[in-house]
Amino acid sequence: MSILLFRVFVPAALLAASAPVSAQSFEDLDALLERTADEEQGIATAREQVDRGELLEALATLERVLTIFPKSAEARFNHAMLLCWIDDPQGGLVEFERLDEDDYEPGALEQARATCSTATQDEEE
């Protein structure tokens, strides 16, 4: 399980942030909703949104996933990390504290908590 998925893709998002894609029709919405009805596809969609710099939309996508799959360890982790990346480290850390170490690779949560409050500055440099 690639729980650190977004950490890998955020630098790409910084480069591609100038090309947002907006829905303009219900067909666009329906297509997006179809992709987020499934846990794996939903997380992949959020990852694509991060690639485009659409962090708030990625958060919303993960919240759709978590509504249907609330125990999704990957969605939980990445949701918390995205909060850190929109500069809400308090929100991210509150969510990280609820996660179970057993659901993740050893040290992953500890590392995430340690980097949360400084993630934005690190990526910007």
């Binding site: 919405l29 710099g53 708030l56 919303a60 249907i68 609330p70 939980r76 929109i86 934005t120």
Partner: protein, 316 residues
């Protein structure tokens, strides 16, 4: 500040009216659909003037102007609007989209109502001029390019009054309104525009301009209390109202101690920020302070009735 805000509101209203006229449906009863039910969990219904009785909401259902969404305990839904803005509706909530106008080239105008419960708003496309305003029984929240959490009712009262900065105030458990800005902050990745929320009650506006800043309107006719930094436990409780299924999935029945430990420190930070109410100070309806604008930073100034910058008087 209030004058500026009112002018802006008037402009938005005028634009909305113009757009409404331009886009007026042939039949007065025709639905103006603005988005879709993106996710639904639990008991969620929709009602409007055209329906004889509320109908269950399923994923993919179109949402239109005037639709009243109701969620029951442990239920939630998300509405995805055409510009990809999102309404995340929490449990035991009543939410209505009163007006929504979107032009991909020009932007989006949104007016909604949070009558009860919990609501999270994520703004969508940053293209064009975008405005959003959510009314509650006690006030209104102007939203600019942001993620913001809003609570109305008993839970708003419970959570707010557990914050050291708010303490015990005279609240109405049908009207109490609690608002927390979640981001983006100035350090957000991807060059996102920092978010901002203007919380207005009794003609007093409090500005939330940093993630984690909160404001509380205890009842209709009262000024907002704040801004103050929400505690970790308060933030976790807000999250539980907005995402009850996520919260219940942990099966621990409560907020972990690690989250609660941060409460005291956050409370101390709150004392250093903005204004606070004590006792019955929520009634800021006199003309003397009706134009106050409190902000999250001590170096901000307020404006008088003529728009001149003046030092912010303390709210007592």
């Amino acid at each position: 500040m209030r004058r500026v805000y009112q002018e802006k509101t008037t402009l938005v209203t005028a634009c909305l009216l113009a757009s409404t006229i331009a886009a007026a449906p042939a039949a007065a009863q025709e639905r103006v659909e603005v988005g879709s039910a993106a996710s639904v969990a639990g008991d969620v219904t929709l009602d409007n003037d055209q329906l004889r009785r509320p109908v269950d909401v399923e994923r993919g259902r179109r949402i239109a102007w005037g639709d009243l969404i109701r969620t029951k305990k442990n239920s939630q839904m998300q509405i995805l609007l055409l510009d990809r803005s999102n309404f995340g509706i929490g449990q035991r909530s009543r939410v209505r989209i009163d007006r929504y106008v979107y032009n991909p080239n020009e932007g989006r105008s949104l007016i909604g109502s949070l009558i009860k419960g919990a609501l999270r708003f994520f703004s969508g496309s940053e293209e064009g001029e975008n405005t959003a305003e959510v009314s509650t029984p006690a006030g209104r929240i102007g939203i600019r390019g942001t993620a913001v959490d809003m609570l109305v009712g008993e839970k708003a009262e419970d959570i707010a009054e557990d914050e050291d900065f708010v303490g015990s105030v005279r609240s109405d458990d049908d009207e109490a309104t609690f608002v927390v800005l979640r981001g983006p902050g100035p350090g957000a990745l991807s060059g996102l525009t920092p978010g901002l929320a203007e919380v207005t009650g009794a003609d007093v506006t409090v500005i939330l301009d940093e993630p984690g800043l909160a404001a509380y309107i205890p009842r209709k006719g009262a000024a907002p209390i704040g801004p103050f930094r929400i505690s970790n436990s308060g933030l976790a409780r807000v999250q539980d109202q907005i995402s009850p299924r996520w919260a219940r999935s942990f099966g621990d029945g409560g907020i972990p101690d690690e989250v609660l430990i941060g409460t005291a420190a956050a409370g101390i930070l709150g004392v250093l920020l903005g204004t606070r109410g004590d006792g019955d100070d929520g009634d800021q309806t006199s003309s003397d302070n009706s134009n106050n604008t409190a902000t999250g930073r001590s170096d901000r100034t307020c404006e008088d009735a003529n728009g001149n910058r003046i030092p912010c008087p303390p709210i007592r």
